[in-house]
Symmetry: C3
Subunit: 344 residues, 3 copies
C-alpha cells in the first residue's frame, strides 16, 4: 500500500507540544522527532542522527536546538548541524527536516516535495478556531488499523445505528439514503433526514425528547485523511438555525500501512458555555470511539491481515458508495504522484 | 504443511456452547464463529461478515440468528443473510457455513467438500456417551505446537516413564515392546505388559499396591487427530474384567500449522460413582498435561520453528514406529486429497 | 550477517555454573546447554535431543550426565549417548558438543572446527586472575542489539562525554584525538590526555578533585568481541604508577544477529581492599551500562531493523576510525573463513 506524499498531514494537536516539548511519532512509516523551541517554533526531523542512527528524541532539547544524546552532535529546528564536537560540520551531518505549519490548533507536517508545500492546501477547520473553552473537546487514539478502514467508518455513518445504538445511532441514518458527491479532490456525503427520530445524544437536548426532528449530517473527506463531519437536528419543520448543530473533525494520519493516528474533535454550536454538557459530551464520544469503533475496526484489520479490503472483493452495499468513491479518488491521486515522480 | 480437509474435526466440547452461547475459534487456519440457537441447534460460519470482514463473533445473537455488530446484516444458522437494512438480500451476502454434528458430547465440524460430509465417518467415542457424572472428566488445552507433535506424544506412551514418572509412568511401557498395526485408515498401537509394576495412579487403587500387575494400554489414532486411549491393569494372572479399566480420548484439532486445540477426557470403568476419586483423577491428569506435556512439546516446537520434525531427519528409535506409520498414512491421505482436487 | 566461527567465545561467567548447575543459552544463533558436572568439569551441547529435538536443558542432571526429560536418553559431557532405554546406542544418538575452556573466571566455548580449537588463542585477561575480592566487580547484560553496535560503543569512548556525563565523561575523551593501530588480528585505540579534567568517577578519588590530570585510556579489540579497556589518571606531571589505574573487560558474544550477551568487569589497581568503594563502583557501572548504554544502543538497533549500519552509509566522523577498522578486519576474517570453508 502506498501513501500520498504530496499532502499536509496532521502530526499532533498543537498543545501536545508545549514550549520545550518533544514528541517521537512515526508518520507514513518514518520515525519523526517533532519538537518546539522555547520561542514557540516547531521543527520536525527524521528521528535519527545521521552519524549512528541513534534516535534524536533520546537527546536533549536546549532552546531551539537538540543535541544527540549519544555523541553530542547538535541540530537546529531545520535539521542543520550547528555543532560537531568531533570535527568539521559538513552537509552530510544535516538531518532531513519537514515543513511544519501550526493552524487550527493542529500541527501539520509536509513529507513530500518541499517545493510544493503550500499551506493554502491545508483543509479549513474554521470551527476549531472558533471553539471556546466549553464548546469543544478533542482526543487522540492510536489505532491498530489502516487509515482507509477508519475513513470508511466515517464515510458510512449508518454504522452508528448498530455500533453506537444508544448514543449516536437511532436508525435515521440507515433509513436515509446518503447523497455522495465528488467536489474537486474531496468526497462529500450528506444524509438529510426529515421527520425522524433524533440520535440519543441529541434527543435529551431537544425541547421534547420524543418529538420527531429534521436532521442534517454530512462528511467532507480529504485525501490526507482529514474529515469534517457536521451533525445537527431541529424539531421537525423548524429552521436549522433554531436547532442543535455541531462540527467535528475526524483525522486519520497513517503511522504505518496498518496503524493510524486518529485525531478527533467535537465543536458544538449550541450551549457553548455549558461546561458540564461539554464534559459529558467529551466522555461520551471518547467512550464510543475507544470502546466501540476501535475494537471493531481493529478486529476487521486482524481479519484482513496484510490484505487490502477491496482486493478481496467484499460484498458491496449502497452504503459503501462514498467509501468506494474515496478509494477510487485516492488511487487516482496515488497514480498521479507515481507518474509525476517518474517524469522528474 | 497441509491439513486434511475431508474429515470431521472436533471444534468444541458440546457444553462449551449453552443455548445462546457463541465461540470464536480458528480451525485449520480459518476463523470460525460457532454458536447455538435457543432451540439447541448449532451453526458454524466463517467468522467474518461478507460486507466488511468484521468478525461476526462481535455481533449479537438473537434466537437463531446473528446480527453483525458493525452494519446490522443478519444471518441464520446456515449462513444465509436474512436481513439487510441497507438494500436487497443477494447471494453475495451469504456467509460460508460448515456442517456441524453434535455427537459423543462433542461438536464435530466438516470443513471439506459438503457433499462428502458423512457423519458415519465420525470416530466412535462410545465411552463418552456411557460416562456418568462421576466416572469421567474432560478438559481443553490450547497448545503452541503442531498437531503432529501432540499426536506423536500419545502414539509413543513410553514418554510417560520420563515425563510423568510419579503418575502415569513407572517403567512398564518402556520395557514393553509396542505392537503397531494399520487398520484401514487408522493406526493401532498396543502395549501388553505381564507381571509388571503398575503405573502410580493405578497402584494406589490395587488390592495390593506393591503386587505386580498385568496391564493393557492401547491407542487408536485417526487421521483427524482423534485418538482413543485405553489403559487398564489387573493383579497378575487375574482376568481383565476384574481389574481397572479406562477409556480416554486425546483429540488434536489444528488451529494453525503450529498451534493446536487439545481436547481430552478420561472415562473410568471402575468406581464409577466415586466423586472424590473422579475429582482427584481430573486434577491429576490436568496437572500432567498442562505442566508436563504442554511445556515439553511447546519447547520442542520452538526448537523446530517452522520446520517439520521429520524433514530434519531426527534419530529414530523403535518407540517411534507408530508415529512413523501415522505420518506416512497422513501424507498418503494428503496426497489423495490433492489428487482428487486436481481431477475435479 | 555472518558470525566468525573459528574463535573462542565467552559463554558465561564461570560462577554462573556451580557444580550441578546448567544454563540454556543461545550463541551464534545455536541454542546450547552448558552444564557443570559434580566434579567441576563443564560440557556444552546443542540443546536438543537428537531423537525429537526436545531441549536437553529441560532434562535432569545427575553427576556427569544429563537425561532427556522426554524419553530418557542419557548423555555425557561430551555429548555421547550413554543410555538408551529403548534400544541400542548408535552414533546417531550423539549430541553435537563444543570444546569448553575455563580460564580467567570465564567459560570459553569453541563452535568452529574442533581441530582448530587452540586455547592459546584465548585473549589474555590476566587482570581478572589477579583481581581480589574487593578490587573487582562484574556483570552480565542481555542486549537487544547486534554485537557490532556494542563493540562500536567501546571503540569510540567519546560517547561517555554525552551518554555518561556525570560518571565516565567529562569532555577529555572528546578533546583528545584517539590513536588507532592494527596489531595482528586486533585493533588498539588509545586516548592520552594531558592536563585535562578527570572523569567524574576519578575526580573524587584524586588528591585534589579540581586539579588537572594526565589520563590514559585504551581499548584492545579482539574479533571475538573481547575488548580490554584500560583507564587511568594521575595528577598532571606525576608518574602513571602514582595514579589510579583500572583494567576492564567488555565482551560481546553474539546471541543472534541482533541480540548480544554482554559481559563486563572492572578490575581496580588502586584501593584494592576498599569494599565500600568496590560496591559503589559496581553499582555505578551497572547503572551506566543498563540505564544509559543499553537503551541508546537498543534504540539504535530498532532504527536499523534488519539493516547493517554501514550498509546505509552513515555520516562518518574522525571518532569512528577504530570502528571502521575493526569492521574491515572483521569482514576480512569472515571472508577468510568463507574461503577456507570453500577449499575444504
Amino acid at each position: 500500500m502506498g501513501f500520498l506524499r504530496q499532502k499536509w498531514y496532521v502530526a499532533a494537536w498543537a498543545d501536545e507540544l508545549p514550549a520545550g516539548g518533544r514528541l517521537a511519532r512515526t508518520l507514513l512509516g518514518e520515525p519523526l522527532l517533532i519538537w518546539r523551541a522555547g520561542d514557540g517554533r516547531v521543527g520536525a526531523l527524521a528521528d535519527r542522527c545521521p552519524h549512528r542512527y541513534a534516535p534524536l528524541s533520546l537527546g536533549r532539547c536546549d532552546g531551539d536546538t537538540i543535541t544527540c544524546g549519544y555523541h553530542g552532535l547538535r541540530f537546529d529546528l531545520a535539521g542543520a548541524c550547528v555543532e560537531n564536537p568531533h570535527g568539521p560540520i559538513t552537509a552530510a551531518l544535516n538531518v532531513p527536516s519537514f515543513p511544519v505549519v501550526e493552524r487550527h490548533r493542529v500541527l501539520w507536517i509536509w513529507m513530500g516535495d518541499p517545493d510544493r508545500a503550500d499551506p493554502a492546501t491545508i483543509p479549513d477547520l474554521w470551527f476549531v478556531d472558533a471553539a471556546t473553552e466549553h464548546s469543544w473537546s478533542k482526543g487522540y487514539m492510536h489505532t491498530a488499523a489502516g487509515h482507509k478502514l477508519l475513513e470508511d467508518n466515517i464515510l458510512d455513518l449508518s454504522h452508528a445505528d448498530y455500533l453506537h445504538p444508544d448514543t449516536l445511532g437511532g436508525g435515521a441514518l440507515t433509513r436515509t439514503r446518503a447523497r455522495v458527491e465528488e467536489r474537486g479532490e474531496t468526497i462529500f456525503v450528506e444524509w438529510l433526514a426529515v421527520n425522524e427520530r433524533p440520535m440519543p445524544v441529541f434527543a435529551a437536548l431537544m425541547p421534547s425528547p420524543e418529538a420527531p426532528v429534521d436532521s442534517w449530517t454530512s462528511v467532507l473527506w480529504h485525501p490526507n485523511g482529514v474529515m469534517v463531519l457536521r451533525a445537527g437536528a431541529t424539531p421537525t419543520g423548524m429552521a436549522w438555525e433554531s436547532g442543535l448543530d455541531s462540527w467535528n473533525a475526524h483525522i486519520m494520519t497513517p503511522e504505518t500501512a496498518t496503524t493510524t493516528h486518529y485525531f478527533y474533535c467535537n465543536c458544538r454550536q449550541y450551549r457553548t458555555d455549558d461546561a458540564a454538557l461539554n464534559a459529558a459530551m467529551a466522555a461520551g464520544l471518547r467512550a464510543a470511539f475507544e470502546r466501540e469503533d476501535k475494537p471493531m475496526i481493529e478486529a476487521q484489520q486482524r481479519r484482513l491481515g496484510a490484505r487490502e479490503l477491496f482486493d478481496i472483493r467484499p460484498a458491496l452495499l449502497p452504503i459503501d458508495t462514498a467509501s468506494v468513491r474515496a478509494r477510487r479518488l485516492f488511487d487516482r491521486l496515488c497514480a498521479d504522484e507515481a507518474a509525476a515522480a517518474g517524469t522528474n
